[in-house]
Symmetry: C2
Subunit: 359 residues, 2 copies
């Protein structure tokens, strides 16, 4: 374990000098700075975060902005837990994570929650860039105050975010296509169900659909790819009727693809016979969706590892703040294929953490 003291001795300078070059504090001649830097490189030195934290006394605040979650739509609970886990691990090294939530359908609450987060004077912000126009304003503010920021889950280009942590939606959709075709190879048609606002809003969903369709196109598979847009993917009789009648009209449909996290809402509100006569492929390991996998109504789920998204984004940001290292600008987490059989082993990290944290 190399210490500052060791570097200092090696370079024939004092610890204070090494400290100065380490933190770009200035006041060091070019010559000695070069000398110290060379030794720092060659010894592969990195500061001991423990000792550093002790001496600094909680210097870094990181603000995390994510949509709030409800029981009915628990998707965002997992990233929250992942952030919490990272935060538990890191409070030991003087990193303080502050959470802010917003309503994912309300631009105003998005902005407000951001403004509140800035009041905590964060050194960095991790957030889900839900609304593009509003994000532009926020980013401008942060760049003025030289606050680093990282995009979580939703990828938007054209910003100087340190990185994006999430999934490659296109490929995930492509794999959904493959899985769909595997379960129902003889189908004449596949149906994609999305909510109306997902057409413009969250472009992850559009990318998944593009990927899904491209699986069939690029493999020259002749099937009809149908698309049904529902006003709102909530369990209402209206939704149920719309889907039901669509399916009777299009008898050739062998499987349904739901590119959002709402597959359980749909499956649970439909007639059991209808459900079991089709193959269902959807996204995200929410409790409700996993239940559908287990009881056999859904064939495959693709998980974007939301817990890990939360956890990793914090770890990656901290690594950047502490060591000024960023692995890549796009950090794509695995595309997890879940089935009835392996779903119980999915996300054990989250389960272990929840269990531990309850106490």
């Amino acid at each position: 374990m190399v210490r500052i003291k060791d570097i200092a001795k090696e370079a024939n300078v004092s610890e204070g000098t090494v400290d100065r070059v380490l933190h770009n504090r200035g006041g060091v001649s070019k010559k000695t700075e070069a000398k110290v830097k060379k030794i720092l490189e060659s010894t592969n030195f990195s500061i001991n975060p423990i000792a550093s934290a002790l001496a600094m006394k909680n210097k870094h605040h990181i603000a995390v902005l994510m949509p709030e979650y409800a029981d009915a739509d628990a998707f965002w609970k997992a990233p929250h837990l992942g952030v919490l886990k990272a935060s538990e691990e890191l409070k030991n090294i003087g990193i303080n994570i502050v959470n802010f939530k917003f309503d994912q359908y309300d631009k105003q609450s998005y902005i407000e929650s951001f403004q509140r987060s800035l009041k905590s004077k964060p050194s960095a912000v991790i957030f889900v860039p839900m609304f593009i126009e509003e994000t532009k304003q926020m980013v401008e503010q942060m760049e003025n105050e030289t606050i680093d920021y990282l995009f979580l889950n939703v990828d938007v280009d054209g910003f100087r975010n340190k990185a994006f942590v999430g999934q490659n939606s296109y490929t995930a959709g492509y794999i959904a296509g493959k899985l769909m075709y595997l379960c129902a190879p003889k189908s004449l048609a596949f149906l994609t169900i999305q909510s109306r606002d997902s057409v413009r809003g969250n472009n992850a969903i559009s990318n998944r659909i593009t990927g899904f369709c491209n699986y069939f196109n690029s493999n020259n598979i002749k099937v009809e790819l149908l698309n049904l847009k529902i006003e709102d993917l909530v369990a209402t009789t209206k939704m149920q009727q719309t889907i039901q009648s669509f399916l009777t009209e299009h008898a050739g449909v062998g499987g349904v693809f739901v590119p959002s996290s709402r597959i359980s809402t749909i499956v649970n509100s439909l007639n059991e016979q209808v459900v079991s006569s089709l193959q269902w492929v959807g996204f995200d390991n929410t409790p409700q969706n996993m239940e559908c996998l287990k009881n056999g109504s859904v064939s495959f789920l693709i998980s974007q590892k939301p817990f890990d998204q939360g956890y990793e984004s914090v770890r990656i940001m901290v690594d950047f703040l502490l060591k000024n290292k960023m692995p890549e600008s796009k950090i794509y987490l695995p595309i997890d294929i879940l089935t009835k059989e392996n779903v119980m082993y999915n996300d054990i990290n989250q389960k272990l953490f929840e269990k531990e944290f309850e106490k």
Copy 2:
């Protein structure tokens, strides 16, 4: 933030005394101990783990015993890297991981490497219990010296290991069966190829085979399940011929299941036509196997997340040593389904770590 110093002042004793009651070091009168304890309770004091770690400086050695790896059989490289990552993270809180390797086919080297590991006076040992009889002796020795131990990757019952970290082999095999049937539903037969010594030795492989077969049995799928035992799964013309002639004799075979990590060895040594006329399902994300996925010769791989096995086992053991907490006795990691399309996003943790660590 309450400090030991604060407690001491409050109780009218010195910091040393508080320290003694905190660590049950003895040498404190009942009266003062009670007084201090009361204040500890009421202030909800907990020691600052940063400062504690700094002051303790290398109190725990953990020995890790794993098979060595070669380019041709790189499976064990990933757990090594996972251990290394954990070890990097933990070295600055005074945890020292020492690695020992052995030849997985040589009992003698297994024992020897264990004996060497004991010389480092570890507080705990994480190891792969390759040979049962030898493991019994080792365990006895550790229990005499009250060293905690944890099984990695290979699960053996009847020991007082703190936990097992690995995969549920039976279920993994069952899923392999499902995937096989999905890709080749019209097959009359499926073939399982294993090496002769895997019949007795590594029971993970037997469990995978049982799971594989049970998928067809419990779903009443009528196929013939064939089994071919090869002396040694190394790329030789003898192996190639044995398999080739077996396949010509059994023309109904629609897919081949390789329950070990050697699927690439087989696929690469066979005639290309033969390979592409069959569906191949295998285990483990070794570089060679992943290459076969990418070039299309293999349809599915199941990964047991070897990197995570190494990483998590260390983290879990450290949590136990530091906080005396063990989540469960069997810690089953996810059963990862890999395809051509998602394999590149597999194990990004390992990739990021390798990239970082090269420098």
